[in-house]
Symmetry: C2
């Protein structure tokens, strides 16, 4: 599923050779849509009015997904897997709406989604000169500090109305460009409609990132302000029709992270260092969780979405490892790098950024394990560390704070810390135990950081003591600590806060070392690399994904799987053939109950050539007329290499069709109000 993966936070320039067939590659920013190129391939391209209208309806969900407004009353279309945590958190043992599905019969029944915020881009401004001037000739940690200060100031100065706007400076092309994005934000988001999880997740992990697919991965949310649905006149029109083979499609959303502009040394780092550690440790967590969930139906329910997230990430990483271990795939990457090197030779101001990047990668090899295992990975510890850091950072001038703690970032940070969310102690303990034991395994028992993390305790004993002793599961306690600031944190005897305090200095020192030895030289070198790319290839470049708004064009088209053509679409009726009765292929009860009524020939899921990546989940799939014909929810198995490069012959976006969603709204999980609202006839 195309949920934004949180593991790799990376930076950004264009992958394939411009001379090679570009197919439908590209996650384009709205201010650089390649209209001429599309027109050449498709005989048509959207005009500025089309682009502006679409952009105004595109929604970013801070949980890591994309979405769109589809009515004038703040109704949001996204994927079921983007709201599953909200559905789970609103479930109880007696009323498990994750299993049963949910339909609000009226707005009064709509349920708040903790931590969720909807954001719409209202302006994009190039601030490259300001940021670059601030950095000046500084190097190392000084350069990072100067950049962070400039960014914090830009974000703070340009969003004075913190209640309704958010400003974010984004680095594109790995530091080649800086853009200030302004968002209209809606921090009250509620659940309107969700089908049974079994319908959305039919086929489970085995079918994830595969096609043919039979998944109703769609849901509706609504944006609220002051307790009322917001007015959203600039919304997309709902068009519950079947897609046509070969028709042009646009995906508008927020791809999370790609690394297509990495150098070969950076790819090697992923393949040789980061990915093996990630695969190994995350697989163990998966195993721990699978067994724990089998202990009781309650644990099964409580662990489900966490497991889903882990399995989804793991499948992505496995696909990435496969791509980077495929000589044919990496051969293309190497050829692209060689081409750029050749075109850049002896150009003024470019120098040899590849060697500089290689050096920073080597520095990263030396620090990676320590950084990766600096702090445990569970929510309660996450709250504790965020509270400890926020208390300290808020006492500093805006320009001197750590990234993520500037004035502009504080409202969402506070919301994410203080929103009420159920905490599951056994899950907390399991994750904490796991991350501490992996830290000891990779660092070794004699490493000072292992001693800092564990003292004389075992991972199991320490996790049990902290999770059972902390009061941070209570949002009121977190709010009080937030409000109390540095004094409250210093006075706290909460064991998780005490523990976070004890780890923070080391984690900060590692970050400082990373800034000086890796980030600063890398950013400087990548900025020169961006210059080289623009000089060589002009505006056929697009920046790597950064969880900011992009548009991709493509068409409805299957692919050829080792000689066998894969069809473009599935039909609702296929679900009944694929069901085996055994989990995760058991027929959703509402499908079984309504089998006679369901139109078996309605298009269920379909594939397009659009170029997307994790974070695009929930993106509207739009036709030439600008109407919504589906919601992107996945890529095919080949698309997992999309982190590093796009292959138009194989990579596909997987979409749930509006025709299937309409059928569900009418016959399977009836929501007549919603049907009316989508028709523009809201009661």
């Amino acid at each position: 599923m195309r949920l934004k993966s949180a593991l790799f936070v990376s930076a950004a320039i264009a992958f394939t050779l411009p001379t090679a067939a570009m197919a439908d590659e590209g996650m384009w920013t709205f201010d650089a849509f390649p209209a001429a190129r599309m027109k050449q391939a498709y005989g048509w391209a959207p005009d500025q009015a089309w682009l502006d209208k679409t952009r105004a309806a595109a929604v970013r969900l801070t949980g890591g997904c994309s979405a769109s407004f589809v009515s004038d009353a703040g109704l949001i279309l996204t994927n079921h897997h983007c709201v599953a945590t909200c559905v789970e958190e609103n479930s109880t043992g007696d009323n498990n709406i994750l299993v049963k599905g949910f339909t609000a019969r009226a707005t009064s029944e709509e349920k708040k989604c903790a931590g969720q915020q909807a954001e719409v881009v209202t302006a994009i401004r190039d601030v490259t000169p300001t940021v670059k001037a601030a950095i000046g000739s500084a190097t190392g940690a000084d350069a990072v500090r100067a950049r962070n200060a400039a960014v914090a100031k830009l974000e703070s100065d340009n969003c004075t109305d913190k209640a309704t706007t958010r400003c974010q400076v984004v680095s594109l092309f790995g530091g080649g460009q800086y853009k200030l994005y302004t968002y209209r934000k809606y921090s009250d988001v509620r659940l309107v409609w969700a089908p049974e999880a079994q319908a959305a997740q039919f086929g489970g992990d085995p079918d994830n990132f595969n096609f043919p697919r039979y998944s109703l991965d769609a849901s509706f949310l609504r944006a609220y302000e002051n307790g009322k649905p917001v007015a959203t006149p600039q919304h997309l029109s709902w068009n519950p029709r079947a897609p046509e083979d070969g028709e042009a499609t646009f995906v508008v959303g927020n791809p999370g992270t790609t690394q297509r502009l990495f150098t070969m040394d950076q790819f090697a780092f992923q393949r040789e260092v980061a990915l093996p550690i990630t695969l190994t440790t995350l697989s163990e967590l998966r195993g721990r969780l699978i067994t724990a969930m089998a202990e009781s139906p309650e644990k099964e329910r409580e662990g489900k979405e966490t497991l889903f997230g882990i399995e989804n990430s793991l499948k992505v990483y496995i696909g990435q490892v496969k791509a980077l271990n495929d000589p044919a795939f990496t051969g293309k990457l190497a050829a692209a790098e060689a081409d750029l090197k050749q075109r850049s030779a002896n150009k003024a101001g470019i120098g040899d950024p590849w060697s500089d990047i290689a050096k920073s990668v080597q520095a990263n090899r030396n620090i990676y394990v320590e950084r990766n295992f600096a702090t445990p990975r569970n929510d309660l510890f996450g709250y504790a560390l965020a509270l400890v850091r926020a208390a300290e950072e808020r006492g500093k001038p805006n320009a001197e704070r750590l990234p993520g703690f500037g004035d502009a970032a504080l409202p969402l940070l506070e919301k994410s810390i203080t929103d009420a969310r159920p905490i599951t102690p056994w899950l907390e303990e399991l994750r904490m135990e796991w991350s501490l034991s992996k830290a000891r395994e990779y660092l070794g028992a004699d490493h000072p950081q292992t001693k800092l993390l564990l003292g004389k305790e075992s991972p199991e004993g320490l996790a049990a003591r902290l999770v059972s002793g902390t009061k941070l599961a209570d949002p009121a306690v977190r709010q009080a600590l937030w409000n109390g600031g540095a004094a409250a944190i210093a006075a706290s005897t909460d064991p998780m806060i005490v523990y976070a305090r004890s780890l923070d200095a080391n984690a900060r020192a590692l970050q400082k070392r990373y800034d000086a030895e890796v980030d600063a030289p890398l950013t400087a070198a990548r900025a020169r690399l961006a210059d080289a790319r623009f000089a060589a290839y002009g505006d056929s470049n697009y920046p790597d994904a950064t969880f900011t708004l992009r548009i991709s064009y493509g068409k409805v088209q299957g692919w050829n799987e080792r000689g066998t053509p894969v069809p473009t679409r599935t039909f609702l009726g296929g679900t009944f053939d694929r069901a085996t009765g055994a989990e995760p292929f058991d027929l959703p009860p509402a499908f079984a109950a309504n089998q006679a009524k369901i139109n078996k020939n309605a298009v269920y899921d379909f594939v397009t050539t659009n170029d997307i990546i994790g974070g695009n989940s929930g993106s509207p799939v739009i036709d030439k007329a600008g109407t919504v014909i589906g919601a992107a929810f996945d890529g095919n198995i080949h698309s997992l290499g999309g982190t590093y490069g796009y292959d138009g012959t194989l990579n596909r976006t997987v979409v749930v069709s509006t025709q299937a969603v309409q059928e569900a709204l009418e016959k399977i999980y009836p929501a007549p109000n919603l049907v009316a609202e989508l028709r523009g006839k809201r009661r």
Copy 2:
């Protein structure tokens, strides 16, 4: 721990350039000990009498370890981790001797170890001409069939006394040589002495493959025949002294598998295909097991040795991945290959074996996932498949059977199937569920093999049904099916037998395809590669490890870890400093109880430069005088790359000293009879 890992069954020639410093590299066969080379480096080398005497005392344990006779009454020294399964299987909830340790006060108290067999080499004969003549000009599956038939005939014709001898033809240098090993075998092996597991495994997984180390990884077994201890006049002398820095040491044992003679394409296959899948799936199994064991003290006890085995293997694989992803390490491999290619250019009869190997590797890439996930991996299924296959194979002439089912192999096979061993149903179900779900994940839900494996069932449902329904946990049932042969198997309605029958045809077809497309061309090409190596480097070659008897020479020496010297030895007293009270660093109770008595200055563990690998666990470490001064039980973390190449500056063998074992026998886990026997004064 240097337990033989079962995953990679591979084939075999010398790694570093002969011009480079060889240090103490090499796992030498006894008929090709490089005495001249050792003499040059050490000023001394063993003579033939020394070698013969040592060889006669060296023991192979079929469980995957090495050992030696250390008294004239069949007393065997090996590692605790080599007997831990036996100790666990002889434990009960009331009398957990794995936790408490075990000392037989008299031979009558010694406990049988199921499945364990001790073997001593009595002859080695070169049968290369016979096997090569049998293969002749055959290719593909015909070549494999001809080779297997020749091997089966040699093994059967040369060991007519099946009760006391075993014959095994071993392919060395990947098919360059075939040698017939004859063993005197002892199929009744009993447990004599084992310390507390906490003393043997102090530091657990975090300390495994690390040094400094504080581990009493030693135990004693005894070989029996006709219910009585066997006479072993040709044993090593027990010498409970401290090692001296720099003194020469020999390790005599059975290294399991190295892949140092692989080509770059074969290394790429391991790095790109096999290892990522193994790491990922095995890590998940580890996680599943860790959580399951936390459910109850009983499960903790029942799962312990399985978890140990998984974690030990995982650490090896993680080390292998690290080595193959280290450009400095693989650079040496590439340089060695380039050197051999250059020396072999235009030599008659060599051709281009590298290209042929590349082709067979490519074929393996196409078949690997299917073969790897052809059958589930749990003991009860293993019994079922072995019974099903044995029934069919035993009906065929000896020369036409699958490898492992020839007349010469049947006695050990029958013993391994019918020996009484406790079966733990939850563990069986957990492993079966896991392997079936991984099969579906890697093959995809739509793959015919997935359908064959699961039908319409889920991995969980199928595993539960088969494990709860089968009677194969009862050794009498297995014996009856073995005795009943093909008729009994065909008539069986035992669900595990029925299931094994349903999978066998597909698994055999995959093996046949592998034989034809991978094994046959690979063996032919590697035989030519062996010729090339001998032509280029003469007898500085040694074959890759094949779990046959080898001797390695080296010396007592530490190493330099990133600028910090690591000492050669630890002392018993260090245990008390390292103990934290938290598992796995909790002090063994008998150490605590006897703290005052223990000689804190006795050497505990030490390191040597000997070149060993998994399978060497339990190998005697022998001084120039031919006396035992320790038992090898591990390598340091750098030695994990030893699968692919030896680096004398970093790779170390980790040994538990006889001085520490003597101290334990006298003061910590008193065994006066054993002390007397080791002194040659058996009562």
